[in-house]
């Protein structure tokens, strides 16, 4: 009965265009922010940070990035892992070459470098669409992984071929390297995730977002109303790669600490992020977070239930866990092809009318 639009009158186009038009949604959003920024940093421990929250935030950023490209602009990409690798190696080179510069700036720069690489690999999208474009981006994935394996300059000629994140601080608190504490890692990822989600929302609500969606829904009609397909598609690749690059940089520098390109940024990563946005909901900011949460939290949950709760051997639990996640993905796609975001909005629509059916 509380969840209502009635009585919440909009008297201007600004109010009508706000992100959360319903008051309760707005409060929910502020409450979530207050918990995320004000409570969790004080109670978080290493297990929660490393197993759940930090990977969730990082994958949410990657999913946001891919969602801009695939969900909003309609350009399918299987190069996410490769672009995350670009972000990771860019931040690694920057960290080791300019140790005195803030890590936050390095992460942003890594995003910028990834954006440039993304535009380069986005060029084929001007000619090819759909599955064919997916194959072209797959080439980017394999090429980038090969490049970072093959050219020792990228991993500073280390004997193992791995990259290791040195300790870097923000306001004298370590956020990367072995001494970084759980709250510090969490807060860095949270700030990036929050800021980037806000940017994504702004970009998708304005003229650029409408250009992307126009290209996605019907490219001929988009052209006839004056959208330059070249600029629209390449800007989507640039913004998307910027997000994915930052996710890659955070994944390596803050979360993993050490990475080997084929293992950390292989084709599996591309598929994982693609699954996240499909399960979460294409063309939805909330969906990016929901999809990331689903695929990060569910395996942890299942593992806890099987190993912790039922005492199964870990290898058996790991296999069962894979099967259950795969099964759930299929069930989801059949029951609700538009993802968690659609389920959420349907639930809200029902709630708005409750207790009446229509």
């Amino acid at each position: 009965m509380i969840y209502r639009e009635a009585g919440d009158f909009k008297t201007g186009y600004r109010a009508d265009g706000q992100t959360f038009p319903i008051r309760l949604d707005r409060w929910g959003y502020y409450a979530a922010l207050a918990v995320a920024f004000g409570i969790i940093p004080f109670v978080i421990n290493n297990y929660w940070a490393n197993a759940v929250l930090v990977p969730f935030l990082i994958y949410a950023i990657a999913a946001l990035g891919l969602n801009i490209l695939t969900g909003y602009a309609g350009q399918v990409s299987l190069g996410t892992g490769g672009f995350m690798a670009v972000g990771a190696y860019a931040v690694y080179k920057l960290m080791t070459s300019f140790p005195e510069v803030s890590i936050l700036i390095h992460i942003l720069l890594a995003g910028g470098i990834t954006a440039a690489v993304g535009v380069l690999f986005g060029l084929p999208s001007l000619r090819i669409k759909g599955f064919y474009l997916a194959v072209a981006t797959l080439a980017a994935q394999f090429f980038l992984v090969w490049l970072f394996n093959k050219v020792p300059w990228f991993y500073n000629y280390s004997a193992s071929g791995q990259i290791n994140a040195p300790t870097r601080t923000v306001m004298d608190i370590a956020v990367t390297g072995p001494t970084a504490s759980a709250p510090a890692k969490y807060l860095v990822c949270l700030v990036f995730a929050f800021a980037l989600a806000w940017l994504a929302r702004n970009l998708t609500r304005g003229s650029l977002g409408r250009k992307w969606m126009a290209i996605r829904d019907m490219d001929i009609a988009a052209e006839i109303i004056g959208v330059d397909p070249l600029r629209a598609k390449l800007s989507a690749f640039a913004v998307s790669s910027f997000f994915i690059g930052i996710a890659g940089a955070l994944l390596f520098a803050v979360y993993l600490g050490a990475a080997e390109v084929g293992e950390a940024f292989g084709i599996n990563k591309s598929f994982l992020v693609l699954f996240m946005i499909i399960i979460g909901g294409l063309g939805s900011i909330f969906g990016s977070f929901a999809g990331a949460a689903f695929l990060v939290v569910l395996p942890v949950l299942l593992k806890n239930v099987f190993v912790g709760g039922m005492g199964w051997p870990t290898d058996l639990a790991a296999h069962i866990e894979l099967m259950i996640v795969g099964l759930l993905i299929m069930v989801f796609l059949i029951v609700e092809p538009h993802g968690l975001a659609r389920l959420w909005s349907l639930a809200k629509e029902k709630l708005r009318l409750w207790p009446f059916p229509h």
Partner: protein, 273 residues
């Protein structure tokens, strides 16, 4: 109908038609060996409703596609507002002030009615990337200003109640109207309508006809339309071009065209005995 040489004339219902807005000179369009349009010339004058009619396959839609920049004719010249237009991409043509609708509705199904119509104003939105990303300054101002313009179009076409509905859920007739709204939102000087009444019932056709006349009347928009319903064409248009097999076989006021023997033959067929 008088004094065509100075550019203007007065229609039967007393509207003053201005000089030439668009002129097509000796257009020939070929697809490989197939000649879709053969040496056609005609003009569209400021403020008039110009119809292109003809049997299926006559080349009407190809003609519209030439005007809107999808096809580049092998021969001939396209003049718009007194300037010769070189080969252009459709989005560049749109920026000149030419908008169109499609025979098969080409709306953005994933977006709401409001967002669809807002896309019609994309050429008027100039806020930079940073302003959009931060939603600060120009981006928000122009969003609100353009929303106001779009709301006027929404009022004009009487679609207030479906403003926030996803386009995919709308019935056919309303989709056509939303597509017209999107074209109108661009405030075009020349509006191209490709079969705006195809597949509509009588009532919807009457509505659409009224909107077309009102657009022409209130905004002074020049309209070029393709339509199969002869009753509609004869009632709406000031001048009619008739095409058959890629050739122009008639050009003039509806009554002139109706009296043209070649046109009658093309439409009714010639007796074979």
């Amino acid at each position: 109908m008088n004094d065509m040489s100075t550019g203007g004339y007065v229609t039967a219902d007393g509207r003053q038609i201005g000089g030439t807005l668009m002129e097509l000179k000796n257009i020939t369009l070929r697809f490989g060996g197939v000649v879709a349009i053969k040496d056609i010339s005609f003009d569209i004058r400021q403020g008039e409703i110009r119809a292109i009619i003809g049997p299926n396959g006559a080349g009407k839609s190809s003609m519209l596609n030439i005007i809107s920049g999808f096809y580049v004719p092998q021969e001939g010249e396209v003049w718009f507002k007194g300037e010769r237009r070189g080969p252009m991409k459709p989005f560049q043509v749109a920026r000149l002030g030419i908008a169109r609708t499609f025979q098969n509705i080409a709306l953005f199904d994933g977006m709401s009615v409001l967002d669809n119509i807002m896309t019609g104003r994309l050429n008027k939105m100039k806020a930079g990337f940073l302003s959009q990303a931060l939603w600060w300054g120009a981006a928000e101002r122009e969003e609100i200003a353009n929303r106001e313009a779009v709301e006027k179009v929404i009022d004009f076409l009487e679609i207030q109640n479906i403003r926030k509905t996803p386009v995919g859920r709308l019935p056919y007739g309303l989709k056509k109207r939303v597509e017209l709204a999107r074209a109108l939102a661009a405030e075009p000087q020349l509006l191209l309508l490709d079969e705006p009444m195809a597949g509509m019932n009588v009532e919807e056709k009457e509505d659409m006809s009224r909107f077309i006349l009102d657009v022409n009347d209130e905004f002074g928009t020049t309209i070029c339309l393709i339509e199969h319903d002869m009753g509609v064409v004869m009632d709406l248009s000031d001048r009619v071009v008739v095409m058959d097999y890629g050739k122009k076989i008639g050009d003039g006021t509806p009554s002139e065209v109706r009296a043209n023997q070649e046109v009658i033959d093309a439409y009714l067929g010639v007796a074979h005995d």
